[in-house]
């Protein structure tokens, strides 16, 4: 016989779908089926049942082979590495729950490390822009119930957030949007004709890297001022038409993603997009929301913020918190060679950092805490597999609009495997002894 666990949270992307149903065996050891999840979420749940999973920590030997060690030895190695390092970097935190992040922050404070989350390569520049100009936003339910103008700027939810459009932004029938998709105008701005753009009412296919100019042109169009004939490859008539469509809505929302955060201009692209939203609030009601990638990168930003005061790229080496992306952010620390130890958890910098940064991870003593086999665990000295967060252990996580939802344990982890929080507690206690802290 089997039992079905309902209201399960999918631990993959920032949409944080919380209506999943998972069928598990009676003894709770086997996960059989997943309903209501997109194909990526289903794969994440089913992969926890893979037979070839690594279940014990392993230390890289001189001749390149792996040697299996116990969790205690792994914790000793990690604590010794962090205690000895003059400037360790503790990166990741985005695919683990807030409880583990709190313990991690204690470790970072005791070992005087730099800590950063995957915002460094995802929405870090969004946070810089928010710090310069603010953020008029709303929760996803407001979009579901009120939005009649939806703009996807530099993001491709059809691929990155597959259920976003059906759960919140385009198709649902909300309180004031009874006609669902028919009561919404959809604009997509992307240099490619993405699968999302193919569904849009208006697709502005701009030149790549010219978002700042096009956003500035929109603000000029709102004020009815002079415009050059073509801006970023878009004729000015089309710009004025798009501007009027935005102004004529009752409640508009701009979703933006990697297209603006990772292109040239970086934080200024988002700065100008937020300025567009603020200008539109003079004519109608408009909000803007970043499409966060990892399911708990927002949570990591929140925990860093209420414990240290900054959302990411926090430098604790002087015993108090300092922040300046470009100086204390992971990519710069690695490419400039400022780091002498690397601690990765809940992310995969090996695959998603530029190779010049990954070379530095391989060059220094490094620990990778990850249930999967990844390029990071491939180049790290110690690989500590832990239970899948959101599948085999619960904990709090934050959706892309900062709403906290409690993800839950659905199935038992393989025999004898610890969760990341348990392992971090072991590391913290050893570190306290090493550093002689009370």
């Amino acid at each position: 016989m089997t039992k079905t666990v309902t209201d399960v949270i999918c631990p993959f992307c920032g949409t944080l779908c919380d209506d999943l149903e998972v069928v598990v065996s009676d003894d709770g050891k086997q996960l059989l089926e997943v309903y209501n999840a997109c194909v990526i979420g289903t794969e994440k749940f089913l992969h926890s049942q893979a037979k070839d999973r690594v279940t014990r920590p392993r230390l890289r030997q001189a001749d390149g082979s792996w040697k299996e060690i116990s969790y205690d030895e792994a914790a000793d190695y990690t604590a010794a590495m962090l205690a000895k390092a003059k400037k360790p970097l503790m990166y990741g935190w985005s695919s683990t729950n807030c409880e583990a992040q709190s313990v991690g922050n204690e470790i970072a404070e005791i070992s005087k490390a730099c800590c950063d989350n995957t915002a460094a390569v995802c929405h870090g520049t969004t946070l810089i822009a928010v710090q310069d100009i603010g953020l008029p936003t709303c929760t996803l339910g407001e979009v579901k119930n009120r939005a009649d103008r939806v703009i996807f700027w530099g993001c491709n939810p059809a691929h990155a957030h597959p259920r976003h459009m059906s759960r919140y932004s385009i198709f649902p029938r909300g309180f004031f949007t009874g006609k669902g998709q028919m009561s919404r105008k959809m604009i997509v701005v992307d240099p490619r004709c993405t699968d999302t753009a193919k569904m849009a009412d208006v697709h502005l296919q701009l030149e790549q890297g010219k978002d700042f100019e096009l956003l500035n042109a929109l603000r000029v169009a709102f004020k009815g001022e002079w415009l050059p004939d073509v801006v970023a490859g878009i004729p000015k008539e089309k710009i004025r038409e798009a501007a009027d469509m935005m102004k004529s809505g009752r409640f508009g929302i701009i979703f933006f993603g990697m297209g603006v955060t990772q292109s040239i201009g970086k934080n200024h692209n988002i700065d100008e997009a937020i300025a567009v939203t603020k200008d539109l609030n003079e004519y109608t009601k408009f909000s803007i929301m970043p499409m966060r990638g990892h399911y708990n990168v927002t949570g990591s930003g929140e925990v860093f913020a209420w414990q240290f005061g900054f959302p990411y790229s926090v430098d604790l080496t002087r015993g108090f918190a300092r922040y300046n992306p470009g100086d204390s952010s992971s990519i710069d620390l690695l490419t400039r060679g400022e780091i002498d130890a690397m601690f990765t958890i809940g992310s995969d910098p090996g695959a998603h950092f530029p190779i010049s940064a990954v070379k530095h991870i391989a060059a220094v003593p490094s620990v990778c805490i990850d249930p999967h086999l990844t390029p990071t665990s491939g180049v790290s000295k110690l690989h500590v597999p832990v239970a899948f967060n959101g599948v085999e252990t619960g904990g709090n996580c934050y959706r892309m609009d900062n709403v906290p939802i409690d993800c839950r344990k659905v199935v038992e982890p393989p025999e004898g495997m610890l969760t990341d929080e348990q392992f971090l507690v072991m590391v913290r206690d050893r570190l306290k002894k090493l550093k002689g802290a009370a």
Binding site: D7, D132, T137, N281
Partner: protein
């Protein structure tokens, strides 16, 4: 639990009517005791002031908009961080301190209980995580109800019982403490970019006026008999001439009686009254109406207020009053953050600099001081800065200095660039009153504890109450030579006890305690109508499922302390 005896200190305790005479305070098993054994540790409080632990009734110290403020103000922490030291974790933030620093700063100033002023119900999990990370002080949080779709629909047909059933459900689900109302109706109108500027402006679509919302929620609060009265931030905050809206709102409470078993006598708490006592028609003829507001409150005994003093700092304003924050960013063009929460509320954050060189800020400072000095009954007027809106809570010693020393007020008035305008537009110059230590104890200990319904456990030194005690290095017998000594004495306590544990000694954190999260568990009759409405709204309009919403506060509050209320009317 070790025993303590605080000998020959000057005790000020309005709960027992002690006005500064020398008494011994005995602490045993976390409670104030009549006597202790000879092995009790002796604390010599000779020439010092002994009071109960202070109670903060209204501060934004935990939650999503506070954290949004931390995230988007890195410059608030530049060169002003405190490193890790002994038991103290590192802290940073001048106007919005991190959670560890919040707990330590409150404890060092003698505060042992604090209330988070506005919790969006959907984000209560976030509030409780931050409460968990705020050391030492007990905390409770007020969920906001004034723009909640359920409340708007029930109160449109004046269904008090359904509203009460919904309030009981939400308090239990979010582990909340009291009914908080912010800009009733206006914040729901802000979801379309509009606002309700008077108590009679109807809310778009829901077609209910703020007056009906306020009146209905007071009745629902008394129907339930909750420990704290309804806590209101009226419409039209911060605009010249807004004192009329304030008086209209207060008039709605006329003739209502408090019905509860916690010793509370008020039915309505008007918060940060300074922001609601403005006269004039524009920023040019902006003037104080503190007199009109305090006259009304002096006459009506069922109302309590807190001041919301401006402390002339660079700070960050944050409130659930979305439209006001958008109006404010229109004035000072600084970075504006806003978050509309579905079906419930909104929040806005804008930095603001209260500069002594600007006449409006100076007048706001004066209004904030006029209110407590004009109130007849200190038990119904409490000192707050609506942290961080009018100023950070770390400035309380400075506010106390201004209230207790006319000389300090005069030196500040003389330092204003537009001194003449401050004297002409307000009556601060003619107020000679100086607050006594007893009145200070009423305004920061006994008063807030009573209106919060916590009068039986904190805010006083009567045997049997919690052993929350603050000892200040301030000799009431010697006349105050320099007002700065008041500020220095009240900034760092000589000793602070929390639940019988010594947590602060000579201004340093020396101990910690398993802090409690105060919440209200109200039992009501089974109400299938409300249960069906809740299921339907979660099915169709919320963006998360009901099970996940209801799992919000449960297993996540490490040390809950429930105040039981039985509202099952037969």
């Amino acid at each position: 639990m070790s025993e303590y005896i605080i000998k020959n200190g000057n005790v000020f305790d309005p709960v027992q009517g002690i006005k500064g005479d020398k008494k011994d305070i005995a602490i045993k098993d976390g409670k104030i005791a009549d006597k202790v054994s000879s092995s009790a540790k002796v604390i010599d409080a000779k020439g010092m002031t002994v009071m109960a632990g202070a109670v903060e009734i209204h501060a934004h110290i935990a939650g999503p908009k506070v954290n949004l403020g931390r995230i988007y103000r890195p410059e608030d922490k530049l060169f002003s961080c405190t490193p890790t030291k002994g038991m103290e974790r590192m802290g940073s933030g001048a106007s919005i301190p991190t959670t560890f620093k919040t707990g330590y700063e409150y404890a060092k100033m003698g505060y042992t209980t604090a209330m988070e002023a506005a919790m969006p119900p959907m984000f209560s999990r976030h509030v409780h995580e931050e409460i968990r990370d705020t050391p030492i002080i007990d905390e409770g949080a007020f969920p906001v109800f004034g723009n909640n779709w359920f409340v708007l629909e029930y109160l449109k047909n004046h269904e008090i019982e359904n509203t009460a059933a919904y309030i009981a459900w939400l308090l239990r689900v979010t582990k909340g403490y009291a009914v908080k109302v912010v800009n009733p109706g206006g914040t729901e109108a802000w979801a379309w970019g509009l606002n309700c500027l008077s108590v009679n402006d109807p809310v778009p679509y829901f077609d209910i006026t703020p007056a009906e919302i306020v009146k209905g929620l007071i009745e629902a609060n008394e129907y339930l008999g909750l420990p704290h009265s309804m806590h209101i931030h009226p419409n039209n905050l911060g605009n010249p001439g807004c004192y009329e809206t304030t008086l209209d709102t207060l008039k709605l409470a006329e003739g209502m009686k408090a019905k509860n078993k916690f010793g509370r006598e008020s039915v309505l708490h008007l918060t940060h009254t300074q922001f609601h006592s403005y006269g004039g028609t524009n920023w040019g003829d902006f003037e104080s109406k503190a007199k009109e507001v305090t006259d009304y409150v002096n006459k009506n005994k069922n109302i309590t207020i807190d001041t919301g003093n401006v402390t002339l700092d660079e700070t960050t304003t944050m409130t659930a009053d979305g439209p006001f924050e958008h109006h404010l960013t229109g004035l000072n063009h600084l970075k504006w953050a806003n978050c509309d929460v579905e079906l419930e509320t909104c929040a806005g954050v804008v930095p603001y600099i209260y500069s002594p060189n600007i006449s409006v800020c100076a007048i706001q400072w004066a209004i904030g001081l006029e209110i407590p000095l004009m109130m007849k009954d200190p038990m119904r007027c409490y000192i707050t800065t609506d942290h961080p809106n009018a100023g950070p809570f770390t400035r309380y010693p400075r506010v106390i200095k201004w209230l207790m020393s006319k000389k300090a007020r005069d030196t500040q008035i003389n330092a204003f660039k537009h001194k003449d305008k401050v004297l002409s537009q307000t009556s601060i110059g003619s107020l000679d009153k100086e607050l006594s230590l007893y009145e200070l104890a009423q305004m920061t200990r006994a008063g807030p504890a009573k209106t919060l319904g916590l009068g039986h456990m904190c805010g006083g030194l009567k045997p049997g109450m919690d052993a929350d005690v603050a000892v200040y290095n301030f000799n009431p017998d010697t006349p105050v030579a320099d007002p700065e000594n008041i500020e220095k004495a009240f900034s760092r306590c000589a000793h602070v006890f929390k639940l019988g544990v010594e947590v602060v000694k000579n201004g340093e954190i020396v101990g910690t305690v398993n802090k409690r999260t105060l919440w209200v568990n109200a039992k009501v009759n089974d109400n299938p109508q409300v249960k069906r409405d809740i299921n339907e709204k979660f099915l169709k309009y919320y963006s998360m499922t009901q099970n996940n919403y209801e799992a919000l506060g449960h297993h996540f509050v490490p040390n809950p302390y429930a105040l039981e209320v039985d509202a099952t009317h037969v």
